[in-house]
């Protein structure tokens, strides 16, 4: 292969959920696509993710992207590989103040076209009998779902391949060059590049700041029916979007297998992928405070992952500042799975010179060039 040159309409670098979605979208539109991935497909943040498809309403731009993306996730609802489960999201209010704030959020979600409603305490316990007594109520988003992200990414790459996409598996991009990319086996790919390497972005695009924000997840043995909705505390956004160096939030998901996935933690300064007993303990204590029965369940596995996080929390979606024919789609923090499909459509629209369905300005990497 050394020295060979292959030419494409688009070279996608990275086969996480973002790169896989972009390759899938581009090839579906008839572009000749290459996708380069040194590790397993969907093996980075995609593999570590919970796979919760959720609209967060605290940033209007993020909500617009999520809403746009959630609409396209419906096409995966009957796909076996996606393991799509429409469990709905139930945000839990500990007190009347939180319940009052839930009403504001319902209004924002409804205004964006997302079905959502406040539920009182009686309804809350009908929906989720395992919740600790004494909660005030909640916010139910009934149409939200969970998927299994690495299999989705695999499916997208396979589908892209069936549309002619060339997968460079086990290959790493050494450098971006004018009009292409150089692989570690000497192959040169020529064409516009789209960098979707998540936390690894600085290796190719050092001018775009990116930090890995570590998270822990614990999965249990099978306890079907114990929890029925993806459960989060209404204070979750404070953990997710706050700047604290480390934080935990109650975030529990019923998997279609009957297993229960327990999150979530966020740490900026941790760079070691090993599970931290102290963070696991904090996170689990938080979950016990909402679902005491969890204490006695059997855990089968703990893992960690790193969320690609930009300084302002919004992803980079657009042209690389100061470069031509270089594009970037990375930095989705904890919402990469939710917003992957919308991000891909927006990106390919931009690359093809079309007007995207939502305003791309809030995500433009130009904001870092200022």
């Amino acid at each position: 292969m050394s020295g060979t040159v292959a030419s494409f309409d688009l070279i996608v670098i990275g086969a996480g959920i973002i790169g896989a979605s972009c390759a899938d979208e581009a090839s579906a539109r008839g572009m000749r696509v290459a996708i380069v991935e040194p590790g397993p497909i969907g093996g980075g943040a995609t593999a570590a993710a919970m796979g919760h498809l959720v609209a967060m309403d605290d940033d209007p731009a993020e909500l617009a992207l999520a809403k746009y993306s959630l609409h396209h996730w419906e096409a995966f609802a009957d796909l076996r590989e996606a393991e799509f489960s429409r469990c709905g999201t139930l945000w839990v209010a500990r007190n009347d103040n939180e319940l009052a704030a839930a009403a504001t959020r319902v209004a924002r979600l409804n205004a964006a076209g997302v079905e959502a409603r406040v539920v009182d305490a009686t309804t809350l316990y009908e929906l989720e009998p395992a919740l600790v007594p004494g909660l005030a109520g909640g916010l139910l988003v009934p149409r939200e779902a969970v998927v299994y992200p690495p299999r989705v990414a695999n499916h997208q790459v396979k589908r892209a391949q069936s549309h002619g996409t060339q997968l460079y598996a086990g290959r790493r991009v050494l450098s971006l060059q004018r009009g292409g990319a150089q692989l570690d086996d000497g192959t040169r790919l020529s064409g516009p590049v789209l960098v979707a390497t998540g936390c690894a972005l600085p290796a190719l695009l050092p001018m775009l700041p990116m930090r890995g924000r570590k998270g822990h997840l614990v999965i249990t043995d099978r306890y079907p029916g114990l929890v029925r909705h993806q459960l989060l505390e209404l204070g979750y956004a404070d953990s997710a979007h706050g700047d604290a160096d480390s934080s935990v939030a109650f975030n529990v998901q019923p998997r279609p297998t009957g297993q229960i996935l327990i999150g979530s933690s966020r740490e900026f300064s941790a760079t070691d992928a090993a599970a931290s007993p102290a963070m696991v303990q904090r996170m689990l204590e938080r979950s016990f405070a909402f679902v005491p029965k969890l204490r006695e369940l059997q855990a089968v596995r703990i893992w960690t992952g790193f969320r690609p996080t930009t300084p302002d929390g919004r992803p980079y979606l657009g042209a690389v500042p100061g470069a031509s024919d270089q594009w970037v789609a990375a930095g989705h923090e904890g919402l990469g799975v939710t917003t992957a499909l919308g991000s891909a459509k927006l990106m390919i629209d931009l690359i093809q010179g079309r007007q995207p369905a939502i305003d791309p300005a809030p995500y433009s990497p130009e904001r870092m060039a200022a």
């Binding site: 590790g39 397993p40 093996g43 599970a275 029965k293 204490r295 059997q298 855990a299 089968v300 703990i302």
Partner: protein
């Protein structure tokens, strides 16, 4: 019970018993952890009906001054401490030195029908039998490889099972060559002769392996490939194990470097049993399959080193080296027939936890990629069975260990020392 020991030993088999006793004799404060309710490990597992071998009784009797922490399952590692789980709750036990005597488990290989009820490992059925699982009158086929098959047959006979035959995959020439070498190890020769006498009348066939098991609700008959053709045997139980692989999960979580002999890892140690992590030692099967004599010697050696008695450790090294050669001899003469790698077909289950077949894994060359796409190895056994089998079959090496080492209550992982007694937490 204190929560800190000078020397903490994990595993109360022959290596761990020797380590605990030796360290205590040097005056160290010693804790001996084991997930089982009684010491003895696998080879000296307590038998509900029959007395343990004299060596086992003596080793257990010599544990004065040792805190025997039975029914303590190690689930995670923390800084110079192990997170353990008991029936009552969780504990964090810290240590000055840690001796890993985590032993070995059986290698199981998938073949058509191997997941039928009534089919276990050879050592697995032996353990169940010792625990009182009724086998009296049952027709049992024992198959696989290595001396463990004979030990299993002996236990089963003692408990009244009808052992129809022992089917060893190694060819007759290889087993006979091994037997001739036994003259260099007279104690082993006597042991082997004793076993053969007790197993008089039980057919012991070489170059033979189970190709397929069939039955409706449980195993009813097995097809056995022999050098003279295929024979079908009607049976109630099939016990099949292809030798042993070291238990290295705890060592891996501690960050100890691994060595490989073939496809399976063992804990890398120097001549004095020091792992790559300071203050952590490995004795016995965890450092490579060597058998009972190696385990007892290495347990003592590791304890000598861990307590600063290196002269005593060095003194045992030559004898240990000699016994390790016996282990190497076993490995050579009972090497697995490559035909065993092809027993399963695409429809044969390999990951029982997640219902993944061999065919589902076609095209994967990496355990993690396979796991992400198929869930293979994601279940409660953490890939101990399927991951090890797939490594043996040459598909891909098993992925690294992840906590918890064994499924553990969330309360334990949260550092809770006791479970709440409040029934509100138990619910319906």
């Amino acid at each position: 019970m204190p929560d800190r020991y000078d020397v903490l030993v994990v595993g109360a088999g022959p290596a761990g018993l020797a380590a605990a006793q030796t360290a205590a004799a040097h005056g160290a404060r010693v804790g001996l952890l084991d997930a089982q309710p009684r010491p003895g490990g696998q080879v000296w597992r307590h038998d509900v009906r029959h007395q343990a071998p004299r060596a086992a009784r003596e080793a257990i009797a010599k544990l004065q001054g040792v805190d025997v922490l039975a029914s303590h399952s190690v689930v995670a590692v923390e800084s110079s401490a192990l997170r353990v789980e008991t029936a009552e709750g969780g504990r964090l036990i810290s240590y000055g030195s840690l001796i890993l005597a985590t032993g070995a488990r059986e290698l199981l290989l998938p073949f058509p029908g191997w997941t039928l009820p009534g089919i276990t490992g050879a050592g697995g059925l032996q353990a169940l039998t010792k625990q009182g699982w009724p086998v009296a009158g049952k027709r049992v086929v024992i198959a696989g490889s290595g001396p463990l098959l004979l030990a299993a047959a002996d236990t089963l006979r003692k408990h009244g099972a009808q052992v129809l035959g022992i089917y060893e995959q190694a060819p007759a020439a290889s087993v006979h060559a091994f037997a001739r070498q036994l003259r260099h190890w007279p104690a082993r020769a006597l042991q082997a002769i004793g076993l053969r006498v007790r197993l008089a009348g039980v057919p012991y066939r070489f170059g033979s392996f189970v190709r397929r098991a069939q039955g409706s609700d449980s195993v009813q008959r097995v097809d056995i490939d022999t050098p003279t053709g295929t024979q079908t045997v009607e049976c109630d139980l099939l016990a099949v194990g292809y030798g042993l692989v070291p238990n290295t999960e705890l060592a891996q979580l501690l960050g100890c470097a691994m060595d490989y002999l073939g496809p399976h890892p063992h804990v890398g140690v120097d001549r004095l049993l020091r792992t790559s992590m300071g203050g952590v030692y490995a004795a016995g099967e965890a450092g490579g399959i060597g058998g009972l004599a190696v385990a007892r010697l290495e347990g003592a050696m590791a304890a000598h080193i861990a307590t600063g008695h290196s002269v005593a450790a060095h003194a045992l090294a030559p004898q240990r080296d000699r016994e390790r050669r016996f282990g190497a001899l076993l490995a050579r003469h009972f090497a697995l027939d490559p035909r065993l790698h092809a027993l399963g077909d695409d429809s044969t289950m390999v990951c029982r936890c997640e219902d993944v077949t061999l065919g589902d894994l076609n095209g994967f060359t990496d355990a993690r990629a396979a796991k992400l796409a198929t869930r293979c190895g994601m279940g409660a056994c953490q890939g101990r069975i399927c991951g090890t089998a797939l490594a043996e079959l040459g598909r891909f090496p098993r992925s690294g260990a992840r906590p918890p080492i064994f499924p553990a209550r969330l309360a334990t992982l949260a550092g809770l020392t006791t479970l709440p007694s409040d029934d509100a937490y138990r619910g319906s």
